[in-house]
Amino acid sequence: MLIDTVLFYIFAVMVLGGGILTITRRNVVHSAISLIVSLLGVAGLYLMQQAEFLFAVQIVLYVGGIMVLFLFVIMLVNLDQAAKERQFNRQWPIALAAIALVGAQVGYFVWKGKDAFRIADASLPEGTAATGNTEAIANSLFTGYLLPFELVSILLLVAIVGSVIMAKKRV
């Protein structure tokens, strides 16, 4: 139990610290590295909640795929000029005020509902399932969620075509 608590706080610091560094750094490459730390923290949280398949997907897809895409674009696009200019836009006081309002609301609801969320925690784990996490996900994904799964493949096809068209020199 204690190790769980310690690990949670380590991962929480990784997630939040990485997130804050991501949105405050001037150099975009530093932001990308901080984002990797944050995403690895999220992956650790998945592992703590017995979502092993998503842990692997998070590392392979986010840290291995999306971050390489980001770094690739950072190197394609000349960002030296942007790094010398103002980093925050003029509406930032209004934006921060609005976000503080939303944060107060969300915090209030989490605080109010904290007893309601605890009911589920109290329930006994009904004999750890014999099937593994990946197997359970596959069972659900290929039976109940088969149609969304197929639709997502169309979404990915559209995204591939769209990104190729966008990045092409002349269409």
């Binding site: 949105i23 984002l35 979502a51 976000i99």
Partner: protein, 102 residues
């Protein structure tokens, strides 16, 4: 020390969501705005996994997979648009893209 409950995950997820929103609304660099959107989507995923774990129901993890897929598609198209934008306007700052404003 208190044991970690679902509420801890919810609070962490809310904090990450707010950090991502700050990034989207206040930064000028489009690359960082796209990274902030990834942070927001990860906050959603933490929430989904927390409830999936607490309710012993696998559906939350399935939704998280769909959210990750959407994040990939969004990042690919967004970065493609960024490259097209940089080729035409030589800028990556969001508030300099005002071709349709008057």
């Amino acid at each position: 020390m208190h044991p970690i409950t679902t509420v801890h995950y919810l609070a962490l997820s809310a904090a990450l969501l707010l950090i991502g929103t700050v990034g989207v609304l206040t930064r000028r660099n489009i690359v960082i705005i796209l990274m902030s959107i990834e942070l927001i989507l990860n906050a959603v995923n933490i929430n989904l996994i927390a409830f999936s774990h607490a309710l012993k129901n696998i559906d939350g993890q399935i939704f998280a997979i769909f959210v990750i897929t959407d994040a990939v598609a969004e990042a690919a198209v967004g970065l493609g648009i960024l490259i097209a934008l940089f080729r035409n306007k030589e800028t990556v700052l969001a508030d300099e893209v005002d071709l349709l404003k008057w």
